[in-house]
């Protein structure tokens, strides 16, 4: 009997990474996708183009619903000059 490891795909833009556990800290996801330092970003879960949840770098992100694991990394900085 073969033990199967559950995988949790996560998508940001055109890139997908697979995780083997859930939840995952947002800072880990941001770093894995190259958004560093993660403190400068907010991770937003998307449905279509709309954000339905947001996570600071220290937040735990559930990946239990594979069809809902599309995110965007929104920089927290920037301002009206």
């Amino acid at each position: 009997m073969t033990a199967h490891t559950r995988r949790y795909p996560v998508h940001i833009g055109t890139v997908t990474h697979q995780y083997e556990s859930s939840p995952v800290q947002a800072s880990q996801i941001l770093a894995d996708f190259g958004f560093t330092p993660p403190e400068l970003y907010i991770l937003e879960r998307l449905e279509g183009d709309r954000a339905v949840a947001e996570y600071g770098s220290q937040d735990a992100v559930s990946l239990d619903s594979p069809d809902k694991n599309r995110f965007r990394a929104v920089p927290a900085g920037g301002g009206r000059a």
Partner: protein
């Protein structure tokens, strides 16, 4: 006469290597269709495609979006975004720091064949500048400005 140097037909191979690393990171990770539309002095206008405006803030429901990035990134930082059409708020209020047909977007307008463009003052304060690939943040940086109205 502005005295600026405008390159309307951009040869990407002539752009600085670090800038191109940033542009390639945008294409590879977020937006394959991102291109430099025009170079105006030391800044490039990067085409970020069409953005859906579904937050009910504007009369338009979509807009073409560009971001202005320095060729010397990350040693200098992006400043300013542009849209076509010129966005108008549903509630009739002025959009903070929106400038219609500002001098900074004149070269861009010529290249893309758009008469009316809006420029938005939007800075890179507290944004990543550690390496060339940090330019990838410019995509959501620009889109967030539109979501905020």
């Amino acid at each position: 006469m502005t005295g600026s140097t405008v390159t309307e037909s951009v040869d990407e191979s002539a752009l600085p290597p670090a800038f191109m690393q940033g542009l390639e990171a945008i294409r590879r990770r977020l937006l394959p269709e991102a291109v430099v539309e025009v170079v105006d002095d030391n800044f490039a206008w990067i085409r970020l495609g069409e953005t859906i405006l579904d937050n009910g803030l504007f009369t338009a429901t979509r807009a073409r979006l560009w971001a202005r990035a320095p060729l010397t990134f990350p040693n200098a930082v992006p400043y300013g975004i542009a849209t076509a059409p010129i966005l108008v708020r549903v509630d009739g209020r002025a959009i903070d720091r929106q400038h219609v047909n500002h001098q900074m977007v004149q070269a861009l307008g010529r290249v893309v064949g758009v008469t009316d463009l809006a420029f938005y003052s939007w800075d890179w304060n507290s944004m990543p500048t550690r390496e060339a690939a940090d330019l990838v943040a410019i995509v959501e940086w620009a889109r967030r400005r539109l979501r905020e109205g």
